[in-house]
């Protein structure tokens, strides 16, 4: 099954080191809601080194967000900062941790060329 969130976290953990976050340390827990249940992902940042695990243990920053929205965030369709301002993401604790981590999320995908958007005849 296609799961952008799981794919993203796996590749995040695989890479391991992120110089963009080398001044950042702390844990973020993502509580991803939807379909009546929540899945929990924990991201531990230790001066640029990232570990990903599953579980609902305590974190410095807890991010409550719908799973479908989070799929959009990790594929660049949804801008994290805008979604926070919209009230679609509820952040508890240290906001700066998610602000720093979201810099690793991709940018908005480019619009398809006009030719490809045209209806086929």
């Amino acid at each position: 099954m296609n799961d952008p969130t799981a794919d993203y976290f796996h590749s995040l953990a695989e890479h391991g080191r992120y110089p963009l976050l080398r001044a950042t340390s702390g844990t973020i827990r993502f509580d991803l809601g939807g379909n009546g249940h929540a899945e929990h992902w924990r991201v531990t940042i230790d001066r640029g080194h990232i570990d990903v695990s599953r579980g609902a243990e305590h974190a410095d920053c807890v991010v409550h967000v719908a799973k479908t929205l989070f799929d959009g965030m990790v594929t660049g369709r949804v801008n994290t900062m805008a979604a926070v301002l919209r009230g679609q993401i509820d952040v508890e604790g240290e906001l700066h941790l998610i602000v720093m981590l979201q810099r690793l999320f991709p940018g908005r995908p480019p619009l398809p060329e006009p030719a490809t958007r045209r209806h086929p005849k």
Binding site: P19, L20, R22, A23, G76, N79, M81, A82, L85, R86, G87, Q88, D90, V91, E92, G93, L95, H96, V99, M100, R103, L104, F105, P106, G107, R108, P110, L111
Partner: protein, 719 residues
């Protein structure tokens, strides 16, 4: 301030703009209201007594965050004295607090109805600016002592909470008693006031702004446990002022301007949502109370000898928000320093790209310039080490992402044609870049000052690489690239028959040939070949560019020149301050002093507070600097202008471990001293003496005495 009929009280990005009676009655065109995080939280806040608006006697802005309005009921005729006074004291501290006091001056008790109408349109500043319609729903809630005004669009929610406190009556013997409490309804608050003979009535209201709806999420906004108090703010302002160097001078208005600048700079400090306590300068009131890459950097540069902490925060915060990906909607690239951050509804719904927006082609080079200049002054090598990664990313951006034509210049062209910026240089209005004949060039465009900044950034980064990052290979390569850029620039941008540099190159590499103030920034950058500098100086201080008050953005005689055009003929104080720095860099001391004097004279006419821009009319014609209609004030880099000009007049430079002072004062200033200039040397004093003896009677008249036109005018003003 009161001359424009509006009063601003502010604290970072929360501010109130009201009329001189303290009322807010927002019209579509006027940015009146209580604003916070780019959203208007009150669009109506009108005080009436027995159904009538009140007349202001005077307005007193005690501090930037506190204003007092002295009001009387209208009697309809000058022959009848008012027997009541109303004092309205407002302080902006996490929303605002307003204290209302009514004094009965007569021996007759009275019963009054005091009413405050309250409403909010929750407009995004962009909506106020561009007159856009709202898409969500409004709601209100009334409780015993609170009125909640709300706005909702899907999950987006903004609320204004107005709470009342107990009212008190003090009789003529000084006995105080509780007075009846307020009555609240959906449109405001009503007080029934029984006021005894010579009695005083008093109450207090508190207005707070919520970003996510009241109950929902205070956890994020209130990261600074308890919001700061008025006492904190007073202490903080005292500390700020006492930490800055002391100015001694025989020209009184300059002292006033200096103090005003320091205070306004304190007012414009702003902590972005995620920075905790750290502050950097917001760009300007009312439209730009937010973080701008370019504005924050240039203001921090101007303020380096006075408040070096601004530079440190600006660098750290902009570094933490440096572009990390390609995002066309936001004009974002890896390594690019942001242009502008916004928090309002249009940004939230991605109808505007400001979360943050990266559409500026100069902020990245300016970031490197500030980093180097900051280290020269402060000796803070730690920050330079901390930002090595960001600096390298910035250099990569300049070489790879900014070079849109692959010819070694920095170019810009927005990838967001709907809501992105066309011109991504400091002159960012649509018509600012033109040929002499008025045509507008196509895209991409490479303006000249972008190349200057890039040259300077590379030279400075080379120094940092050599002395702090221990990378002599990078240093050599940057020096080589800079030298090559300078060589090519002097070949491709120089217009031989007019003896100045083109404003830009167009998409074909053709020179955009208008004469503009941009050539002054080239002096600041050092990209001008020495043998050509005198041509540039002649243009800058020649009649086409120099108005007598300052250097115009675009020269008289250009097709698009307009003395009231935003970037095509007005004089921008900050522009002049960097040009004065550039004149010093090339040894033109007297010319730098002349530019400084003109702008500082203008400051006197604006009561020490230079606006963003003023009109480009000739000084001999208007005798006073004519304000530009919608200019922002206070504006950070205008506020920083007198600070930088003091530095250029004294010739302040951080060289190795020393503060070098090489004064050149304009005619009419006898002596000038900055005491306790902070830096890596600890604290040092800088003294300058004028070449002209100032007569005692001129000093009494508070003038730069040799300027007869100014003297005539001031005589006129005084009569």
């Amino acid at each position: 301030m009161t001359t424009t009929g509006s009063v601003s009280t502010l604290d970072g990005n929360t501010f109130v703009v009201s009329d001189t009676a303290g009322d807010i009655d927002a019209s579509p065109t006027e940015p009146n209201g209580l604003f916070s995080w780019d959203t208007r939280y009150l669009s109506r806040w009108v005080l009436t007594l027995d159904g009538h608006r009140l007349n202001p006697l005077s307005t007193d802005d005690l501090h930037y965050f506190e204003t007092r309005f002295f009001l009387v009921p209208g009697t309809g005729t000058v022959y009848v004295d008012a027997t009541l006074s109303i004092i309205r004291r407002r302080e902006v501290v996490d929303g605002f607090r307003e204290e209302l006091t009514i004094l009965n001056h007569s021996a007759t008790p009275v019963t009054l109805t005091l009413r405050l109408d309250a409403a909010s349109d929750f407009a995004d500043l962009f909506e106020v600016k561009d007159h856009l319609k709202k898409k969500g729903k409004y709601y209100t809630r009334v409780d015993d002592n609170l009125l909640l005004l709300g706005y909702e669009r899907q999950t987006y929610r903004r609320e204004t909470l107005i709470t009342t406190a107990a009212s008190t009556h003090v009789d003529e013997h000084g006995e105080s008693a509780d007075a009846p409490s307020a009555h609240l309804d959906e449109h405001g608050i009503t007080f029934t006031v029984h006021l005894g003979a010579h009695g005083t009535w008093n109450t207090e209201l508190h207005v707070s702004c919520s970003l996510w709806g009241w109950a929902a999420n205070q956890r994020v906004t209130a990261r600074t446990e308890s919001g700061h108090t008025r006492k904190d703010m007073e202490e903080d302002l005292d500390e700020w002022l006492s930490g800055a160097p002391k100015l001694e001078c025989d020209w009184e208005p300059l002292k006033h301007t200096y103090r005003r600048s320091l205070t306004d700079l304190a007012a414009l400090r702003f902590a972005p949502m995620t920075s905790g306590e750290r502050c950097l300068p917001a760009a300007g009131l009312p439209w730009f109370m937010t973080m701008f890459g370019r504005d924050s950097i240039l203001t921090s540069l101007q303020a380096l000898p006075y408040a070096p902490s601004l530079a440190a925060t600006t660098l750290a915060e902009l570094g933490a928000r440096q572009g990390s990906r390609v995002d066309d909607f936001r004009d974002e690239d890896p390594g690019k320093i942001l242009h502008e951050m916004r928090y309002g509804e249009l940004t939230a719904f991605e109808e505007r790209p400001h979360s943050p927006y990266y559409g500026s082609a100069d902020s990245t080079a300016l970031f490197l310039i500030l980093l180097d200049e900051y280290e020269r002054w402060s000796g803070d090598t730690r920050l330079v080490r901390d930002l090595e990664y960001e600096s390298r990313a910035a250099l990569t951006w300049l070489d790879q992402y900014a070079d849109l034509r692959g010819d070694g210049y920095v170019w810009y062209q927005t990838r967001n044609p709907d809501t992105g910026l066309e011109n991504q240089c400091w002159k960012d209005s649509w018509d600012s870049i033109s040929y002499s004949d008025g045509r507008l060039p196509g895209f991409p465009r490479a303006t000249c000052e972008l190349q200057g900044y890039t040259y300077d950034a590379k030279k400075r980064a080379a120094r940092l690489a050599r002395t702090i990052w221990n990378d002599p290979t990078l240093a050599d390569s940057l020096d080589e690239q800079a030298a090559d850029l300078k060589r090519r620039f002097n070949r491709d941008f120089w217009i031989e028959d007019r003896k100045y540099y083109a404003l830009a190159l167009d998409a074909d590499g053709t020179q955009v040939d208008a004469l503009s103030s941009n050539i002054g920034h080239l002096l600041w950058s050092g990209i001008v070949e020495r043998r050509r500098a005198h041509h540039i100086v002649e243009h800058l201080l020649g009649p086409r560019l120099y108005s007598g008050w300052g250097i115009r953005t675009l020269a008289e005689g250009e097709q698009r020149y307009n003395p009231v055009g935003y970037h095509v003929g007005t004089v921008w104080p900050f522009d002049n301050s960097f040009i004065a720095w550039g004149l010093r860099r090339y040894g033109y001391k007297n010319e730098a002093a002349r530019v400084a004097a003109g702008i500082l004279d203008a400051a006197e006419f604006f009561n020490g507070r230079l606006p963003e821009a003023f009109c480009g009319y000739d000084r001999a014609v208007t005798k006073y600097p004519v304000p530009y209609p919608t200019a922002c004030s206070p504006q950070a880099w205008s506020t920083g202008t007198p600070l930088l000009l003091l530095g250029t007049m004294l010739g302040l430079q951080a060289v190795d471990e020393h503060l070098v002072v090489d004064p050149a004062l304009p005619v009419g200033i006898g002596h000038l001293a900055l005491l306790d200039v902070p830096g890596r040397w600890g604290h040092r004093d800088a003294y300058g003496r004028g070449r002209v003896q100032v007569r005692a009677d001129d000093r009494l008249r508070k003038l730069r005495p040799q300027l007869s036109t100014l003297q005539t005018l001031v005589n006129r003003r005084e009569t």
